[in-house]
């Protein structure tokens, strides 16, 4: 089957999925937090659009629900909350450049290849045109993971976490037309609670080390395991 034989909706799904992958790269490379939040919102929009288009292609109402949840949560609510946190912590101009950008991007490209390899046996058993989006979604998940590893800024790590969630949603949409509604709502609830907790944590971290650079959170590894005196109890 060639790409040209696909209905236009499916082609659009592929294009949007590829753009979601690009947004994962952009998120990884974006050093300015404010811009990164915007990239994240775009990524959410792309994922929601994929869900909605697949819904239109298959007539599955469940997918519209997924799209609506994603739109509400990942495009509007969570970016808004992050935005507010950024303002509250006065981090609007904060940048968190990657230590080794070229190396990171190479690793990211390798991850995409790896994701394709891992997802190949899964995709093999699906006959719909959009099955290869599974590989893309796994790549988005793993790129989010990479982002959490290479970034030092707590907020950037949270963006990585949320990007992983985007990838998971894309995976669910692409492979199984979404999870059952109750599970989807549960996941959305967990993500929302996680976001609220992240917000609480930012304030706690800021209070305790006056920065959101989590590299400075090295009390435990530095003092407790070695011979030094631990933190005196207040």
């Amino acid at each position: 089957m060639s790409l040209a034989a696909l209905p236009l909706l499916d082609q659009a799904v592929l294009v949007l999925a590829a753009m979601a992958l690009f947004s994962a790269f952009a998120l990884l490379a974006q050093s300015r937090l404010l811009a990164a939040i915007h990239v994240f919102a775009w990524q959410g929009l792309l994922v929601a659009a994929v869900a909605a288009l697949m819904g239109a292609a298959s007539g599955d109402v469940n997918l519209y629900v997924s799209a609506a949840i994603t739109l509400a949560l990942k495009v509007l609510l969570i970016p808004w909350m992050l935005h507010r946190l950024l303002r509250r912590l006065a981090l609007e101009r904060q940048a968190d450049p990657l230590a080794h950008p070229a190396l990171t991007l190479l690793a990211a490209a390798a991850i995409v290849v790896f994701a394709d390899w891992v997802a190949a046996p899964v995709a093999q058993f699906e006959h719909s045109a959009t099955r290869n989006v599974i590989a893309i979604s796994l790549a988005v998940v793993l790129l989010g993971l990479l982002m959490m590893v290479v970034r030092r800024q707590a907020l950037a790590q949270v963006l990585g976490f949320m990007a992983m969630e985007n990838g998971l949603l894309l995976a669910a949409v692409a492979s199984t037309h979404g999870m059952p509604l109750v599970v989807e709502l549960g996941v959305a609830f967990d993500v929302l609670v996680a976001m609220v907790l992240f917000g609480v944590f930012f304030l706690q971290i800021k209070d305790s080390i006056d920065s959101l650079d989590v590299d400075r959170l090295s009390q435990l590894s530095a003092s407790i395991e070695q011979d030094e005196e631990p933190e005196p109890r207040p």
């Binding site: 046996p121 976490f161 996680a194």
Partner: protein, 491 residues
């Protein structure tokens, strides 16, 4: 059904109730009462399952495998609540490390945590299982940072991020599993229901199941504390309040392992006729052994008492994973028994450790000295707890480890010396730290604290009982569970 509601949803009721209850002193009692109600529900459920066999209705499923874990969870929840009431009161009123709001959060989230644990155990839906396990992280993460010290915040952040990353992999695995199910099931069937999946497992596509299992193992394995992803565990245990350490070690790890084993059952069935029938077991064995050995080495030269015992938890989780990985009725029976006795012993140890740290006013091992002189009950509790966890004969852990070694001898004889060596090294590491804490010279100015050793005594007595004679009903259950997991019983 009524019992399920009582057991599982009583804690859920407690979440808003305790969040709104202003009096910390009352909240402690309410916490205890709710946990007791939940235990009553769990016992009722157990009686039902004992009489009628597997219960499956309305998206819940209680069979031999999870019913004893439900009872265990509710029981440890209750005893820890008994311990937590005076302990947290001391932390709140005398040490002043936690304010009134913190206490409300603590009690509310304690019940929230119990709810997620019980929900994860009783639900039939693998998606809900995921939601509940993730919910358990969310409920406990703020408790780990309850003391607001930089170290506590770091521990909580690490816990949050690492478990968040791990659990995301588990969701991907769940999606892959659902995907495999959709290709077999007719439209409209619930492809995430474990009962449904188990019935059709042999038809599930093996290659998809391998991918799904690897992701699920990584995901839930992070929560179990399997080795490359275990580093959150000692931090979270050492920095959170001690009752939290007790339930984390005693319950959360068990529930995560329970999830892994449920997935393994599906994968084994799907792979049975493929080229690699034992793949899931081998993976679990490999990670289990790696975890066990790493933790055994890490047991030495610890400086923080709670970190010491959290490494011991990692060690035992490694052993259990190894046991489930070896497969076969004997090893599985041993691992199931080990889940039970380890949870009981470890939570009793953390209760004792909580008292010990209040006596010595520090968690540093070298400053905790002479407990048996200052407060004999705590000293004896620690000594017996350590003896039990190290696998000394009359206790239940000896039984389960012995069974596990016997099973290993049958299946993988050349791994047995490695396991024995590991157990000996672990025992040495534990006693090396515990001996001076119990028998050393007590520093001047060390006074006894008000300690309720009832939970410890109860737990250790149960472990002792299980070591000497396993009650027939329990043996029957464990045998049923073994039959469920491996296909053939032991008894």
């Amino acid at each position: 059904m009524m019992w399920i509601v009582l057991a599982v949803f009583t804690p859920l009721l407690g979440v808003p109730l305790l969040a709104l209850l202003p009096r910390a002193r009352v909240a402690g009692w309410v916490n205890l009462g709710l946990s007791a109600l939940s235990l009553a529900g769990a016992l009722g459920l157990a009686a039902q399952v004992l009489m009628h066999g597997t219960l499956a209705a309305h998206g819940f499923r209680v069979d031999a495998f999870n019913v004893y874990l439900v009872v265990l969870t509710a029981f440890v929840g209750l005893t820890t609540a008994v311990f937590s009431r005076p302990y947290m009161h001391y932390v709140h009123a005398e040490e002043k490390r936690v304010g009134a709001r913190g206490m409300r959060l603590y009690h509310s989230m304690y019940q929230g945590f119990l709810f997620t644990m019980l929900l994860a155990l009783t639900t039939d839906n693998l998606g809900i299982l995921w939601v509940a396990v993730e919910g358990a992280t969310l409920a406990t993460v703020l408790l780990v940072s309850l003391y607001r010290t930089p170290a506590a915040i770091e521990a909580a952040w690490k816990y949050f991020i690492l478990c968040g990353v791990g659990i995301a992999q588990a969701l991907f695995g769940t999606v892959a599993l659902y995907f495999a199910a959709q290709h077999v099931l007719p439209a409209g069937a619930n492809g995430l229901s474990w009962s449904t999946l188990y019935a059709i497992a042999p038809q599930l596509e093996p290659r998809v199941m391998v991918v799904a299992f690897v992701f699920l193992l990584v995901g839930y394995g992070t929560k179990v504390g399997l080795v490359p992803l275990h580093s959150w565990l000692p931090d979270a245990h050492s920095e959170g309040p001690t009752p939290m350490s007790a339930v984390l070690s005693g319950l959360l790890l068990n529930v995560a392992l329970y999830a892994v084993v449920r997935m393994k059952m599906l994968t084994d069935a799907a792979l049975a006729s493929s080229a690699t029938p034992g793949l899931a077991g081998h993976l679990l064995m490999g990670f289990g052994l790696l975890t066990f050995l790493t933790a055994v080495i890490s047991l030495h030269r610890r400086r923080d008492i709670k970190r010491l015992f959290s490494y011991s938890s990692i060690e035992h989780m490694g052993l259990m994973s190894f046991g489930f990985g070896v497969g076969g009725p004997l090893a599985t029976f041993a691992a199931l028994l080990h889940m039970l006795v380890h949870a009981l012993t470890k939570s009793s140890i953390f209760v004792t450790v909580g008292h010990a740290t209040h006596i010595a006013r520090t968690q540093r091992i070298e400053r905790i000295r002479g407990l048996i002189r200052t407060q004999p009950a705590v000293g004896w509790g620690l000594l017996l707890g350590v003896a039990a966890i190290a696998g000394f004969p009359p206790f239940g852990i000896f039984t389960s480890e012995f069974l596990l070694l016997a099973a290993t001898m049958q299946a993988w004889p050349w791994l047995t010396p490695l396991l024995v060596l590991g157990l000996v090294v672990a025992c040495a590491g534990l006693f090396r730290s515990a001996q001076p804490m119990v028998f050393g010279a007590a520093p001047p100015g060390q006074y006894p604290v008000r300690a309720n050793m009832l939970p410890v005594a109860l737990h250790l007595a149960l472990v002792l009982l299980l070591g000497i004679a396993i009650p027939a009903a329990l043996a029957h259950w464990l045998d049923q569970a073994t039959r469920l997991i491996t296909g053939s019983g032991l008894l």
